[in-house]
Symmetry: C3
């Protein structure tokens, strides 16, 4: 399971970094700035989780996350003209990564002895706060608050995880089902433009 | 004293969450996004304080802060049309919450063995950084830097706290006077439009 | 070496705080808000480093950083009309501070037992994330991602540091050379308008 998780982890890191690099390039960032935004998008959620858990941030223990983000930069530079056409492919990678990030965040939080509801929050933070920091850095209102089911897909995945554990489903199967439910929720939400209703303000 | 503090804590959390949810709704956030902004407004300052103190963030130990923020969302949804009319009431709750947040931040920092001036800084961070993060998330220049006496009221409350301790006032009385001075400063500043002078730039 | 480092540390803190206060004043912040932005610019990078290293933030151990930032505010208020004319002087202080911040960040990270590449990242964060937070607070796209060689100068300084250690250069000499290389890179980049190429987006 660890190896499969590692593979998905790199896939997700790559896809998250690409989303950061593409948005940075649309704002005329230089190569290094785009790299930083890509890296922060990829590792930001997990870093906030680890700070809250009082754990050493995961990317400080393996250089691979910096390397994968660098490969994402190279990828965008080299395949610049084709990146739009493969948007759907990148979206699929992104959704796979999201599912895995949520599962990793939940598993780590439970390992640290926190209750289930903290684990759901941490899974959601792991999956969605990287994109939130990305949007702050490029000076846009965070997309996750306004479009499609994103953070909510993480919450749903967390609930599925807890329910599976409650019914004594094996851990690998629980993690697979939870990640799959995040993935499917994302794909359906984007495919059928399902959104959370906008909160109408008094102004 | 603990019970009275808990009550004020929930009141403040509720009022802070409402301020986040209302500003988020003015920016067309969806329900879930508005909830996240409300929650972050309510717990953001204390979370930064706890990270700096190397303590487990307070909201990870009781689910009540998530619940109270959820109630604030329900409140805004249900009483949408009346929220403007009760703005003054919400302001009073907000000022009560601010006073308490400052006191809680100071007390916790002193418990951790830090000197008085660190406690004043932490009280100010507890009271004002939630609103700062809220303004970053909705992509506005943080209000606390430009309007009324807000963060400065926290600093004043911190100084009152330290002075009271210095003159051997009992701890509950010290905390009450400090919270009250934050509250009164806020109310007077808003009532009489008292502001810190703007720093005129060279441009 | 410690004393020389302390001196440069205060010089850098002063220059960083001035950059924050000046940008805040251009956005009509009040005095207290400008002070907060100046302080955060000066200590923000090191604070993020210390949180990631799970160390007590350095400014919580000596009140001097708060005092130096206060002096920077006084300086800007008093010499408002002359601050533009001394922009070049402030730039030199800023570059000196940058060099030192990078070296301090690297040394502390190696002390904590992390590998070289983590130290380079931490040196870069120490030097550049204060300015990044400053730009987020004044609601601008972080300058470091778009202009001149800034964060990259930190990375270069980190590489020089590691190379010197590899060739058994003494620690004080290593730190001096690394800080100098950051300083020289910054001065040359600004003097000759050397930039990292912009990443052309597909849009």
């Amino acid at each position: 399971m660890i190896d499969f998780i590692t593979l998905c982890d790199y896939t997700g890191t790559f896809a998250f970094a690409i989303s950061g690099i593409r948005l940075a390039s649309a704002k005329q960032f230089d190569w290094f700035g785009a790299y930083v935004v890509g890296l922060v998008t990829a590792v930001g959620g997990g870093t906030i989780r680890d700070i809250l858990l009082n754990s050493t941030p995961f990317w400080m223990e393996h250089i691979s996350y910096l390397v994968v983000s660098g490969l994402a930069l190279l990828f965008v530079i080299i395949f610049r003209k084709y990146v739009i056409r493969i948007t759907n492919t990148v979206f699929i990678f992104d959704a796979i990564g999201l599912g895995l990030f949520v599962v990793v965040g939940i598993a780590k939080t439970l390992d640290y002895g926190f209750p289930m509801w903290v684990a759901i929050v941490m899974g959601t933070i792991t999956g969605s706060f990287g994109g939130m920091i990305r949007d702050i850095l490029i000076n846009e209102i965070p997309l996750l608050f306004r479009k499609d089911i994103y953070a909510l897909a993480c919450v749903l995945g967390g609930i599925v995880y807890i329910v599976c554990l409650h019914f004594s489903v094996s851990l690998p199967m629980t993690q697979f089902i939870a990640a799959l439910s995040v993935f499917v929720t994302r794909v359906l939400a984007v495919r059928y433009h399902i959104s959370v209703p906008v909160l109408k303000g008094e102004e």
